[in-house]
Symmetry: C2
Subunit: 222 residues, 2 copies
């Protein structure tokens, strides 16, 4: 019985890694679709979000079953509780990648982003891809060092998010040339990327809890 | 022992109701602050979000302790698992109310919303206040009928959200008079209200799970 339980716990960990890998593919492909106007790629991200959703459903059911049948305590209990919470976080990250792909698809064959916004969004895209890589690594390795770095790195995304507002609102020639559709898209895309980063921080906080049993120092992120 | 456990479970339910009541106050006050430009009220919503956050922390700790010490099964287990999930959902609803208050505060002494957007946002505000009322009632009474109605009612918020885009993007005299700041604010506020409704649906789905032990039929909302 005990051995089966350890296998079940490992399965929770493996499923989280699998979800995180799918989220990484989704957000990578979504940012590429946004930058290149690749319709097929955008469609693929949108379609594949269901795989992430159904992984979450399976993981949640598995965690509830584990709680009911095995009544885990201590570290084992933390694995299950964190599994429940992280599955929800990863599912949201998948949704956000899908939302980016939906905006990309909605403007094709044009690119959603106007010329003057492409620089900051290239930086944001690089930052969220790093977050996605880090989340996979966090779930694979449970590194505290990496967890702290992810929390710190989030400031970069927040700064870039602020830059998108400056781009839209600063009184300059650049701004006045933005159409309402472009302003709406920049606002939503900036928000999606910023939220993706927040969820990365939430993963880092959960890993800290998993490893140490302590909640991370509050940083405005849950 | 058994009796103490029932008290603990009741406490989880009571804390969820308390969180939901605070969320209802927050979103009601935030929409009033948005409509009236009441700075003190906006500040209050922003400050009080911490109370919701700390209720979440307490509730989560309580649920984990219950799982560890009491090893609940069947309905009792569902109460604890749903408690963990709903505390996160309610915390996000509080954040969204805070975000609305932050936008309201940021534009004062002006009103954030331009004249031509006030009608649709008055309707959205009424809809989210209904969601907030329903969430309190759901947590108090666990009514399946109400849970289904909340899921259906969310279409109204989605329709109003689409209307905000029409308002911004339809080629008309109204649109061209919107400033970049107004376009950004309308985009974000529409998104916040729509997400608030989504979280209301998530609460309804959790209540269905709590009462029936079955996940609600998927409706794109988790």
């Amino acid at each position: 019985m005990r051995e089966i339980f350890q296998q079940d716990l490992e399965q929770v960990g493996n499923d989280l890694v699998l979800m995180a890998q799918k989220v990484r593919s989704a957000v990578t492909d979504a940012t590429v679709a946004l930058e290149t106007g690749d319709l097929a790629l955008a469609e693929q991200v949108i379609a594949k979000d269901r795989e992430i959703d159904s992984l979450q459903d399976g993981l949640d059911a598995q965690c509830v079953t584990l709680l009911a049948r095995q009544q885990p305590v201590a570290t084992d209990l933390r694995v299950v509780v964190v599994g429940l919470r992280l599955s929800a976080t990863l599912e949201r990250m998948g949704d956000l990648a899908r939302h980016v792909a939906e905006i990309a698809r909605g403007r094709m064959p044009e690119q959603a982003l106007p010329e003057q916004a492409r620089g900051v969004f290239a930086d944001m895209a690089a930052a969220v891809r790093t977050v996605a890589d880090d989340v996979v690594a966090l779930l694979e390795g449970h590194s505290l060092e990496l967890a702290y770095r992810v929390m710190e790195d989030d400031e970069r995304l927040d700064d870039l998010h602020k830059e998108t507002f400056r781009l839209m609102l600063a009184p300059s020639a650049d701004t006045s040339s933005l159409t309402p559709q472009e302003l709406v898209d920049i606002t939503l895309l900036g928000r999606y990327f910023e939220r993706f980063g927040d969820h990365g921080v939430a993963v880092a906080r959960r890993i800290l809890f998993l490893v140490t049993g302590e909640e991370a120092v509050k940083s405005g992120i849950r």
